[in-house]
């Protein structure tokens, strides 16, 4: 191979495919801040990880927290969404950390619906309201 050869190939910078999970969640983060008048806000942690199956699989981990700044930045983890676990970015798996809700193989078209189902569940709603009430008690 000559030194003038382009080892980078033809890179495709535009992603013709879908939005990431983080894209969808980031667009939702401000709503809770507005609803709770800054008592609570949502935080998204995005990291890569490896799932240990027979063959390790590299995945993207999206963790959604609700943070209470007046409670020392205490945060409660609401859900984790795992990208790439079935090969492509979608479908994804998601698990709720407040109750036992879990959805596997969620398509991109169903993503926000399933997230709403988890966040709208009575356990998660109660958990967020409790956190809000605890925060409101702090002057």
């Amino acid at each position: 191979m000559e030194s003038s050869t382009n080892i980078w190939g033809k890179l495709q910078f535009e992603d013709p495919h879908e939005k990431t999970v983080a894209d969808y969640l980031n667009s939702q983060l401000n709503f809770i801040r507005e609803q709770t008048k800054d008592e609570l806000f949502a935080e998204l942690d995005v990291s890569d990880g490896v799932m240990d199956f027979e063959k390790p699989i590299a995945v993207g981990l999206n963790r959604l927290f609700v943070v209470a700044p007046k409670l020392g930045n205490f945060r409660r983890q609401i859900l984790t969404i795992v990208e790439g676990i079935h090969g492509d970015r979608y479908p994804v798996d998601m698990v709720c950390h407040v109750n036992e809700m879990r959805f596997n193989r969620v398509a991109e078209s169903e993503l926000l619906l399933k997230i709403s189902e988890i966040i709208g569940s009575s356990d998660v709603q109660r958990s967020i309201v409790n956190l809000f009430n605890q925060s409101k008690q702090i002057p």
Binding site: F41, E43, D45, V46, S47, D48, G49, V50, D52, P56, A58, L61, R63, F65, V67, P69, K70, L71, G72, N73, F74, R75, Q77, Q134, S135, Q137, I138
Partner: protein
Amino acid sequence: MNIAFWNLDKKDLSDQLVQLTNEKSIDILCLAEVTDGVATDFIRKINIFHPKTKYSFVASAKNKVRIISRLTASSFIDKSDSYKSNRLSAHLLKLPNIIELNLVCVHFHAKNYWSEDAQALECATLSKAIGKVEISSGCHNTIVIGDFNMNPFEKGMVSAIGLHAIPDLELALSGKKGRQIDNTDYPYFYNPMWNFFGDHLMPFGTYFYHSPDNLSYVWHVFDQVLLRPNLKNNLANDYIEIVTKIGGDSLVDAKKRPDAKKYSDHLPIILKLKI
């Protein structure tokens, strides 16, 4: 809430710390054998991922163990002066309406310089210091985490006058004041790290040292978490993890021992609390 401890063996593992913190959602990170440069570098890198709730050093009069947290600095009240040695950092962590607990971080004397008996004797002083922290803070929800340079079964860890850390949570809960010996009460700690001995599950400990003399335990659990038993209801599922992988990188070598060449000779441990 997740609390991690890692003895870094003076290595520059700031990138691995970022990955560990993100992957395991660590709220409080306690580090031994870490240089200021590495700790600062880690904070700079992790805060790129956390623009809203930034990680920062927790102020302490003692710095043998450095503590870094995303919780607000004012949540930590320094109680480190209860022990004269630099080897203990103690704080009352106050999250209003959430929880109050004492977080005691330890990097105890190494076996290279201190015999088992010497360590055990010093544990009496350490235990008194922890008692002072509890009296001063008015809180008995205490967590002790760190590199004890002792195994859970050693005299300093188990003896009533030492840390009094036993492997049976129900027994530890049974007596309100702990165990009475000759009219003196000794409160228990629960030590879940006993569960990590043997080759039933990976890893086989947190530290590997195969002594050439007659007596070698081969694997050691020097990195431990001790809990006052009243924290039982705050323990999450699988509340202790000894970490062997960060991202795609294995912290152990082909023989399943801590890869001290690339990473640290100790494996990180994580305590997961349900709050």
